[in-house]
Symmetry: C2
Subunit: 410 residues, 2 copies
Amino acid sequence: MSLIVQKFGGTSVGTVERIEAVAEKIATFRDQGHDIVVVVSAMSGETNRLIGLASEIQEHPTAREMDVLVSTGEQVTTALLSMALNKRGYAAKSYNGRQVRILTDATHTKARIKKIDDENIHADLKAGSVVVVAGFQGVDEKGNITTLGRGGSDTTAVALAAALKADECQIYTDVDGVYTTDPRVVDSARRLDKITFEEMLEMASLGSKVLQIRAVEFAGKYKVPLRVLSSFKEGPGTLITLEEGSQMESPVVAGIAFQRDEAKLSILGVPDSPGVASKVLGAISSANIEIDVIVQNVAADKTNDLTFTVHKNDLAKAAAILNDVAKELGAREVITDDKICKVSIVGVGMRSHAGIASKMFACLAELSINIQLITTSEIKISVVIDEKYMELAVRGLHSAFELDGEPKVA
Amino acid sequence: MSLIVQKFGGTSVGTVERIEAVAEKIATFRDQGHDIVVVVSAMSGETNRLIGLASEIQEHPTAREMDVLVSTGEQVTTALLSMALNKRGYAAKSYNGRQVRILTDATHTKARIKKIDDENIHADLKAGSVVVVAGFQGVDEKGNITTLGRGGSDTTAVALAAALKADECQIYTDVDGVYTTDPRVVDSARRLDKITFEEMLEMASLGSKVLQIRAVEFAGKYKVPLRVLSSFKEGPGTLITLEEGSQMESPVVAGIAFQRDEAKLSILGVPDSPGVASKVLGAISSANIEIDVIVQNVAADKTNDLTFTVHKNDLAKAAAILNDVAKELGAREVITDDKICKVSIVGVGMRSHAGIASKMFACLAELSINIQLITTSEIKISVVIDEKYMELAVRGLHSAFELDGEPKVA
């Protein structure tokens, strides 16, 4: 008998029928003797409906009132799911953030969890109830309602699992696990049985948007075993763990990630002096533009070339700033390119395996794909290439690193 | 500068436009220097939408989960109205039942208020905020969400006004006050400037459904001056007070109330012995059927005739029970009639004025209306008559007691 925290997102509870299906799934686990704490999001569409009402009234409502408003969405789902469980003869009790209590700081709309009280939940579990908790929300010290920001329900689930010392935290979503790469790009992409937290972080931040990064970080920090599964079909999903592949022959590369929506900016021929990078990137980030890849090279003529990538939507704004900085620094030239993409191989195994990088570059060379930028971290290698070669590169690398499974039948 | 509690019902906050209009109204009072606590209902339709979702899942959900579900409706309105006030430059802060805190007993879906904490609200008022409170809801000792039952938002408003020692509790609704009778029946019905709590109770329970009885009782008990006004048009409304007409020539009869949806049952020729009434009425009320008028007469032959009225919907059920009881008691006959109505004159003045009753009966006789039943209390006299004479009786009495105002222009 285990204690399992299960999280169901907005799509999984989007209609009364789907809430019933979720209740069936929970019932199966209860029948196996497990204690279950469920975390739910608002029914899909509900949060947008509420935000729509607010925006009809005020362009920028106070964050406090936005939290009061949108937190009702999850509360509705907790009540409906509890009813669906009760109907099936399973004791169930809804909790909002205050009732748990999930204490957060006072940063409305993106609060951080400070402490979770678990006495009430433990008492109800002991009494045989399924506990149904509203995700995404908490209360601050003064009892104000707070919300945790985008993906907050995942964070609630992981934080609850950590506080309750749950045996597993299961995140139900509309995909059946984490794949070696996007199955829409590579037919033979394979579901991973296991992946480490670090790999998952790199996969997520690089575009395989299965889980919120914050929830994965949280789970890693508190050593909560996290499993991603499908709400809609059976299967073991993907377990995200601390252990680096318990199997001896765990593959060195876990998956291929990619990102299409970046643009590249270069400032060329900057006189080489200390503080150039900070001046350039400081100006960009002051404008609240997020920077992804940064590469700097000292050129032969003792000037600097600095290249970085931003989201395509921020390109025009970033280019304007960069032109100003270039004048100030006496740089030769600014060039931009929004026809790029980033492709990465991710795997904890590569730490201890030489030759992974050269294998990657060889594969791309064989496909006649020119590499514009390279960056590396301990567990990933990313290249920026012309966006028209993206699928070709991803498929080639997927195959080169022996990730191919059985092609799916369409 | 006064402290005013203002309550806006579901119709008054039914759309974003109406919420904006409510904010305008509140702003006017703030500009006059008053401190304002606002109590709001759910946007009209929202509570039914939520109940609809629940009923798709379970026929009889637990009362606890129903409260969790429907209490979100009021919370949404508090946030939206606070935004509408903020937009206009007025500080405003939303409160749900727990945040106030409105402590109730644990009787979900019809909880009773036990205590209201007022420190937080006082602090916010002092800081210059409009305080916007979710009506209809509270929390029990354990922090479970409770609701107060039908008309609960009126109760919240009155209870808050009592706790805060407000100068006035204003109930905004879709009528502009309490009338001498239903203006849809009598063209010349007149809005009353003042009415006593007792008169209001009789008017309300007799069918002029402007305010919930429970809120009026509460206001009377705690001496909260209560004013009924229209959300949609300007005007002083009707003030409900303790004083019996401060004007010398206050009319003896305040208004004419009526009820169309009752049915009459009689059990005739019951052998006269103690406990007959209790046996008959006990059986009816055991079946959860509410009884209104009760009249008993000893007939000439030493048998009893007992007549009472119930809601038309309960007639068949009540008749079946009464037939069983009649057999048991050896009664001669049971007769029922659902083509009846009840017409009442209400006024605290009649306590001390003889001749009111005879004036009423004379008026009806002049109109050739046969009186089937008569009951009286200290401040009202009710008759049961054939329902087809209802309008005739109400108009005749309204005129006989000099209640007519200027006929309204249609």
